[in-house]
């Protein structure tokens, strides 16, 4: 097993990876406090699993995967506040008046947690389907179907200007 990093090495890793992980966590959870908790947990797990991480160069990727997996575990816990999607949407309520469109965070909050994670990983972190599936621990087909469902919802909420009709098919 690889030796754990020195305190200085690990502290440097924490400072270097924190902003990126925090932004992704915030987009996935929509809550600053939860995002902070999530990133802390992911980095602590990364330290504890150093035998699998093996070197500092791979640690940031491992931390991100651990963070996403921890988040999906949170999503599955009973009572998670975003467990259920909003049941009904008003059809194209904002198309004609962009000034009253909800912020993207509000739109993301309408998605079920796993769909939200897929959207963040694919369109914010720019991960391809295969890597997204790997990070979420699910099949590529699941990522594709969740992407399609999520974009359909976002299209209703944000309008076709933001999410064009052909969006899902061209990003891979």
């Amino acid at each position: 097993m690889a030796r754990p990093p020195s305190d200085a090495e690990f502290t440097e890793l924490v400072h270097a990876s924190w902003p990126t992980l925090y932004r992704t966590a915030y987009l996935m959870l929509g809550d600053r406090g939860l995002a902070e908790d999530l990133v802390q947990t992911a980095l602590a797990k990364t330290y504890a699993s150093w035998g699998k991480v093996r070197d500092l160069g791979a640690a940031r990727g491992y931390a991100r995967t651990t963070m996403v997996n921890t988040a999906t575990s949170w999503f599955r816990k009973k009572g998670w506040r975003n467990e259920r999607p909003t049941e009904e949407f008003e059809e194209h309520p904002y198309d004609n008046d962009p000034s009253v469109r909800p912020a993207v965070m509000h739109a993301l909050a309408q998605l079920p947690p796993r769909q939200r994670a897929v959207v963040v990983l694919r369109f914010y972190d720019d991960l391809p389907v295969a890597e997204t599936a790997k990070a979420l621990g699910c099949a590529e087909g699941t990522v594709k179907s969740q992407t399609s469902d999520a974009l359909a919802t976002l299209r209703i909420l944000l309008g076709e200007t933001v999410v064009p009709l052909e969006s899902g098919a061209t990003h891979d």
């Binding site: 924490v14 600053r32 330290y47 504890a48 912020a103 993207v104 974009l151």
Partner: protein, 365 residues
């Protein structure tokens, strides 16, 4: 075509006031997690070093082949647990505390949070669902978990507070679930890629060893790192079979022998000549192998190849694998797995025809 969506998300988070990372707290939490996982690995490693000098001689005595790799997990506190019908007995070797269960105790699992008891209506393992779970803590108090399982094969690692099992997911896939029994919450639920049609259970059988959940799917065993969700296919653990990995080790039939094998590398750690695989078992931490031989048993130290003989062929394990034990009437016999020395202790009498289950032993069918 989603450039605008990506731009909006970037815009949202670029404007965030990001707090400073609490690096010291993260480092402390990481250290605590690390210690919990490796437990007393340093102690085990030290013991391994001390024993390394006598390995060659021990191998000669055992008729086996030892390569001396350390176990994947350390050892939890010393506890002996067994059940008689709906009563669980917890012992430190000098007596036994009785704890009544709401149902018959079907299997007892050692964990770092206490003894986890799987119960059901009659103790049967075949068609015995639904199964419920009680956590018996070291002080002898029991708490019911909010967990009901069907006809599946769950697993624990004695150095961790988790129960792993597989279950039907929302779609066509199964999921490997890791449940934290100390908090009674699901810690992870990860899709299993492979199919499962063999075995007759509701979901593929699993084995928890450290951070890995081994899942016995059709023709292959998947190894899931439940913290990251990353899945690999094992080159060592056979598929379409119950993956019984203890402390990162498993038993495998060799040529004229039963071999103890490292579950990750496939390296043979100990070859036990003449032993049949179905007559052998590993200790909960994988440090010892017991082989039934006639009316008695032989216990091998996997790391050194040293062996001791104990009477009887029917044994349970202590939580730290330091002892095997059995109960006959009102006597509990414990034997050291290192020296073979045995001692008797008086315990509440077990009547004839009672349903007895020893901890550390698998009861699945």
């Amino acid at each position: 075509m989603t450039d605008r969506l990506a731009t909006l998300m970037h815009g949202e988070v670029e404007a965030l006031d990001i707090p400073a990372p609490p690096a010291t707290e993260i480092l402390g939490a990481g250290r605590r997690l690390h210690r919990r996982r490796v437990w007393t690995q340093r102690g085990a490693a030290a013991a391994g070093l001390a024993l390394a000098a006598v390995t060659a001689a021990a191998v000669a005595l055992s008729g086996g082949q030892s390569t001396g790799a350390g176990p994947a997990t350390g050892k939890p506190p010393h506890v002996i647990a067994y059940a008689v019908d709906d009563t669980v007995y917890i012992s430190d070797g000098t007596g036994a505390t009785a704890v009544t269960m709401p149902e018959v105790a079907q299997t007892l699992y050692y964990t770092s949070a206490g003894v986890l008891v799987r119960t059901n209506k009659d103790g049967s393992s075949d068609g015995g669902a639904p199964f419920h779970f009680e956590l018996v803590k070291p002080g002898g108090t029991a708490a019911k978990l909010a967990l009901t399982l069907g006809d599946v094969v769950p697993s624990t690692d004695p150095s961790l507070p988790y129960l792993a099992y597989a279950a039907k997911g929302g779609g066509p896939l199964f999921q490997a679930v890791v449940h934290d029994i100390s908090t009674d919450r699901t810690e992870a639920a990860i899709d299993i890629a492979g199919k499962f049609t063999w075995g007759g259970w509701e979901a593929p059988p699993v084995s928890l060893s450290g951070a890995d959940v081994y899942v016995g799917t059709d023709d292959k065993t998947e190894v899931i790192d439940w913290q990251t969700g990353q899945t690999t296919t094992s080159d060592v653990v056979p598929g379409s079979a119950l993956p019984d990995v203890e402390g990162g080790r498993l038993l495998r039939a060799g040529t004229g022998s039963t071999d103890v094998v490292d579950a990750q590398s496939g390296r043979v750690l100990l070859a036990i000549s003449g032993a049949k695989e179905d007559g052998a078992d590993l200790s909960p931490d994988g440090r010892f192998a017991i082989v039934r031989a006639g009316d008695g048993s032989v216990i091998y130290n996997v790391d050194t190849g040293a062996k001791v003989h104990v009477p009887s062929s029917d044994w349970g394990w202590s939580s730290d694998s330091e002892d095997v034990f059995r109960v006959d009437g009102s006597t509990m016999t414990t034997c050291s797995t290192s020296t073979g020395q045995c001692q008797d202790t008086s315990v509440p009498s077990v009547g004839k025809g009672a349903f007895v289950r020893y901890a550390g032993v698998t009861f699945e069918s």
